[in-house]
């Protein structure tokens, strides 16, 4: 670090003075790392002012420099990082302070919540110990009782039940959502003026995400802190942020109020990003806006506009000199803060159509679209499939102390050309269902019929092989699913060789496949690590399609990808389904993606389907309280809607399958159940609601569309 520069020099270098009332002013922040490939310029000139009590959302894809910016503000970057510019807290320069001097501010004035709650707490100390530590560091004179009382108060504030007893619990005794609450409790322990939240809900389930965002909201209200919310999810910040900064390639490319950014984007990247996100609240079946290409390598100098290589509006002028972040021309006085780094900002005014600008493909039409569902053939059918795991105890002699009903009586079918998605929180049995289908063994409980072949007759290897040809799988993590020592050619040839295809035919088929998934056929001799994440997922899809299956099982196919890349892969999946007449069985936690891609949806809770039907019926008119809660938990990238809509915040986590209730599984968390009179509650607790058809969809609830308990409803005014 260049420590020989004094704060005064920094300010002079940075030039601009900040408004006096800002709690945090960042000027011309630059961060460089030395790497094996040369100096990586990770953050290239970030400026912003954070006003007290306001929320700034920093939005960008992975590698855009948003996390590095936050770590530089906190002074938590490794010593080898070269940081320049100015970061002032209430006018005091923070850059260049020693670790010790910085410690007076960290956790006291500026606090931070990190992304992964599972690894962010020390496993060997109690939660109480870790909260009290944060108090002790900054209040050495505080008495032990006072600290304990404050810790209990903090835990109560973030919504942890029986906080006094939970002080003595260790982090592993908490679920992910609970741990993130503890992280927030630690962060607000000393009433910080600034709270930085770095992707605080990315690792969590949607229902838990809604809870944690609610806690952050409360925390901000209680402490009056200014919040910097870093995220890649445009939905998450839409309802929370006052201002937005969009970052790309280490640089802010557009800043403004939420309304400016969401309703009047002036930089093609922002426009593309907004168009790339599928919406959970509309049945708009347009293709998504794909942003082709990858962000630039920051180890090389950026000459023109950093987005030029991916921009559909690029012209020669864009390649000469990087555009400055300047006020958008031709705006009214009240939106003076709206700035964009694009020479074509003016052209984008008004209602620029992202689909047209980014040449989004038309919605593909499948040959099955006109055929009624009942007339199409079944490609997959499950009849009362069950998977129960015994829970054992004892070292030498095992005793059965219970049963985990991971999948408990599942029946559904998939017809030609359609996509069925299974949704639910982690632990609801989605993955076990996929594994049961892939298992395909006569000893399974229940029947799995794939392409007319039942698992009950799959007694020999030949039948199983025939089934495998009908059904293939695409995995969540494209990097882990490809052997790093195989070239793409070898990856794609393997399934074909298994079928005994001749060499020449394999070569021809591989070239076809590469074109089919939108990769260059002459890249077949490259290794997986030479491709980007989105391209690797395309290779995974090509491998699944190699043997011409009828059904493709997609296990979270886009959750590991960035928003802009995700759109391209989703469009590809849509297009392949129409062109090849494929059927999909998809498991996904992102309900927006599910709504976009699926025809039908099945909502699972604790091993059972609680609601199923056509995706538009279920999403527009959910009947089961769990579906209603799940849908209400999805943030929508529309600030006005997001600020006014009612949300159902479920209490607690998914219960352990061990103590599944006797009647309705969902009764313990059900917002409708909580509002029912005791006489009616009795029915939910003793009888199990059957999955029955009513209206357009099937659902398992005695009191559909019931009134929601007021405690679980939240509206942000």
């Amino acid at each position: 670090m260049s420590t020989n520069i004094t704060p005064a020099e920094r300010l002079r270098d940075a030039g601009l003075y900040a408004p006096g009332d800002a709690v945090l002013s960042v000027r011309d922040l630059n961060v460089r790392f030395n790497s094996e490939n040369g100096v990586v310029h990770a953050v290239r000139g970030v400026d912003f002012d954070l006003m007290p009590g306001k929320t700034l959302g920093i939005v960008g894809e992975s590698g855009s420099g948003k996390s590095v910016t936050s770590m530089a503000i906190m002074g938590l970057l490794p010593e080898t990082a070269d940081i320049s510019g100015s970061v002032r807290f209430k006018g005091k320069e923070l850059l260049g302070l020693s670790d010790k001097a910085m410690c007076k501010h960290r956790g006291n004035d500026i606090a931070m919540v990190f992304q992964d709650p599972l690894s962010s707490l020390t496993p060997v100390y109690t939660v109480g110990n870790q909260i009290i530590e944060a108090l002790t560091v900054h209040n050495p004179t505080m008495s032990k009782q006072a600290k304990e009382a404050r810790a209990v108060e903090l835990l109560r504030m973030v919504g942890i039940p029986s906080p006094k007893d939970r002080l003595k619990a260790f982090p592993h005794e908490f679920s992910g959502g609970m741990r993130q609450r503890v992280m927030i409790a630690i962060a607000i322990a000393n009433d910080p003026r600034i709270l930085i939240a770095d992707e605080p809900t990315t690792a969590l389930d949607v229902t838990i995400q809604a809870q944690v965002l609610e806690v952050l909201h409360t925390a901000q209200e209680e402490t009056g802190a200014a919040v910097v919310m870093i995220t890649h999810d445009l939905g998450v910040v839409a309802g929370m942020a006052d201002d937005i900064m969009v970052m790309y390639a280490g640089k802010p490319v557009e800043t403004g109020t939420v309304e400016d950014i969401y309703y009047n984007p002036r930089m093609p990247y922002t426009l593309g990003l907004l168009g790339a996100v599928p919406r959970v609240d509309t049945s708009d079946k347009q293709s998504l806006v794909p942003i082709e290409g990858t962000p630039p390598n920051l180890a090389l100098p950026v000459l023109g506009c950093s987005f030029a290589a991916r921009c559909p509006m690029v012209s020669d002028a864009c390649l000469h000199g990087e555009p400055e972040l300047i006020p958008v021309p031709g705006v009214e006085a009240q939106t003076l803060g709206h700035k964009a780094a694009c020479i074509k900002a003016e052209e984008l005014s008004g209602n620029a159509d992202a689909h047209k600008i980014f040449h989004a493909p038309p919605k593909p039409v499948s040959k099955f679209d006109g055929v009624a569902r009942v007339e199409r053939q079944k490609v997959l059918e499950l009849k009362d499939v069950k998977k129960h795991f015994p829970l054992l105890k004892g070292a030498l002699i095992k005793r059965r102390i219970g049963t985990v009903k991971a999948v408990d009586g599942l029946s559904f079918d998939i017809r030609e050309g359609e996509c069925l998605s299974i949704v639910g929180e982690s632990g609801c049995g989605k993955t076990t269902t996929l594994l049961e289908i892939m298992e395909f063994h006569p000893d399974q409980v229940g029947e799995v019929v794939i392409g007319g072949v039942s698992n009950k007759v799959a007694t020999d290897h030949k039948t199983t092989m025939a089934m495998r040809k009908e059904m293939q799988m695409v995995f969540q993590d494209p990097t882990g699913a490809l052997d790093p020592r195989f070239t793409v050619y070898e990856v794609l040839a393997e399934p074909l060789e298994n079928l005994g295809m001749p060499k020449a035919a394999i070569r021809k088929r591989i070239m076809e496949l590469m074109k089919l998934v939108g990769l260059q056929p002459d890249h077949v001799n490259r290794f997986p690590n030479q491709f980007s994440g989105g391209q690797r997922q395309r290779i995974g899809i090509a491998r699944a399609l190699a043997v011409n299956p009828k059904l493709v099982v997609l296990d979270e196919p886009v959750s590991a990808l960035d928003v802009s890349v995700q759109a391209g892969v989703i469009n590809l999946l849509d297009q392949l389904r129409a062109e090849l007449g494929l059927s999909y069985l998809m498991v996904a936690h992102d309900l927006s993606v599910v709504r976009h891609i699926s025809d039908r949806v099945a909502v699972m809770y604790l091993g059972k389907i609680v609601e199923t039907g056509d995706v538009d019926d279920v999403f527009d008119n959910p009947r089961h309280p769990y579906t209603r809660a799940l849908l209400s938990a999805i943030p929508v990238p529309d600030p006005n809607l997001e600020r006014t809509r009612e949300r159902i915040i479920l209490q607690g986590d998914l219960p352990s399958p061990l103590d599944a209730p006797k009647g309705c599984n969902f009764a313990t968390r059900c917002p409708v159940f909580a509002a029912l009179p005791a006489a009616k509650q009795e029915k939910c607790l003793t009888l199990e609601p059957p999955l029955a058809s009513e209206g357009a969809q099937d659902f398992a609830c005695f009191f559909p569309d019931g009134e929601i308990d007021a405690d679980m409803l939240v509206v942000h005014a």
Binding site: C103, S120, V137
Partner: protein, 327 residues
């Protein structure tokens, strides 16, 4: 906790019984003391040998199963681990041998652990700096140096000191000087005998702990929870000391279990070179003397030491890691 330890002990007891029984069968079917008797002068007749062995409970005419029952019966009813072919009682010599070995190793085991872990932490905190490079290079050097050579070098050093001073300060072999006065002189004599082997085994023993502790700590220095601790307002060094250290000690605590029996078996060289006739030396001698009962007894001792080490490791792990604490 107590119940858990009892249960673990019970399981290890069964394991010790099984390994010892298996060891006995192996010994009884491969060791033939009668062969050595043939080298005596005057050469005894096979009948004489068999008769004398029968008197010692080593009847060569019985089949292994019958011998096993006889041997096991002796242990269970009279805690009698049998006799050597020369007539000596295993029980009588065993206690002395164990005492000698324990005295030889106990100090260096403790010192090795403390110094190794401390140096591991010290070098991890100064990664790639001069101190770290010296300490870690030394550890790797010691790792590849065979124990006998290392011990000889220390003996030579001690002799060098003795010669330089012109007086015998250190004894390089033996346990104690016979006929020394009790009290202060006996204590000085003990320290003089103790110093060289303990020093040798310690400075050549801590390398493993140092390397492991350094590695595990470095793995944790950049962990997310250390970052959280720093975000609370702890300095980097405070965060490492309070948060990374204890987590990094968990795998080291587990490895202790497997180091204690390793020292026991590797102790043969130390016992031979420093002339402390302990149990390691005894077990090797037993095999060369075709002594079934002694070989089995030393094997049983090895199993017990291993079990104690494993229980200690369990105990240490539960102490430092709340995740494995039993309710």
């Amino acid at each position: 906790m107590l119940k858990y330890l009892m249960k673990r002990s019970g399981i290890y007891l069964i394991m010790i019984f099984l390994t010892t029984s298996a060891g006995y069968f192996l010994a009884v079917s491969s060791l033939k003391p009668a062969v050595l008797e043939q080298e005596k002068i005057p050469r005894p007749t096979p009948e004489q040998v068999a008769a004398s062995f029968r008197g010692l409970g080593l009847d060569p005419d019985l089949n292994p199963w019958e011998r096993y029952i006889q041997w096991l019966g002796g242990i269970i009813t009279r805690w009698d681990w049998g006799r050597s072919p020369n007539g000596a009682f295993v029980n009588a010599e065993f206690a002395d041998r164990v005492l000698v070995s324990t005295r030889l190793f106990i100090a260096s085991i403790i010192l090795t652990l403390i110094i190794g872990v401390a140096l591991g932490v010290y070098s991890a905190a100064r990664q790639y700096k001069f101190q770290d490079r010296v300490i870690t290079s030394y550890s790797y050097l010691v790792h590849i140096l065979p124990a006998p050579i290392a011990y000889f070098l220390v003996q030579l050093g001690a002799i060098g000191i003795n010669e330089a001073v012109g007086e015998r300060i250190f004894f390089v072999t033996g346990i104690s000087t016979p006929g020394i006065d009790p009290g202060w002189p006996a204590f000085v004599d003990m320290v003089a005998h103790y110093a060289v082997p303990t020093f040798a085994m310690t400075i050549f023993g801590w390398a493993g702990y140092q390397i492991a502790q350094r590695q595990y700590l470095l793995d944790n220095v950049n962990a997310d929870f250390v970052r959280t601790a720093r975000a609370k307002g702890l300095t980097r060094n405070q965060a490492i000391r309070k948060h990374a250290l204890r987590v990094s000690f968990i795998p080291v605590a587990q490895s202790i279990a497997f180091t204690i029996p390793a020292i026991f078996t590797g102790g043969f060289f130390a016992e031979a070179i420093f002339a402390w006739p302990g149990i390691g030396l005894w077990s090797i001698q037993a095999i060369s003397l075709q002594d079934v009962n002694v070989a089995t007894a030393t094997l049983a001792y090895g199993s017990v030491i291993f079990a104690i080490g494993a229980i200690l490791a369990d105990f240490a792990t539960t102490l430092v890691d709340p995740r494995v604490r039993v309710q």
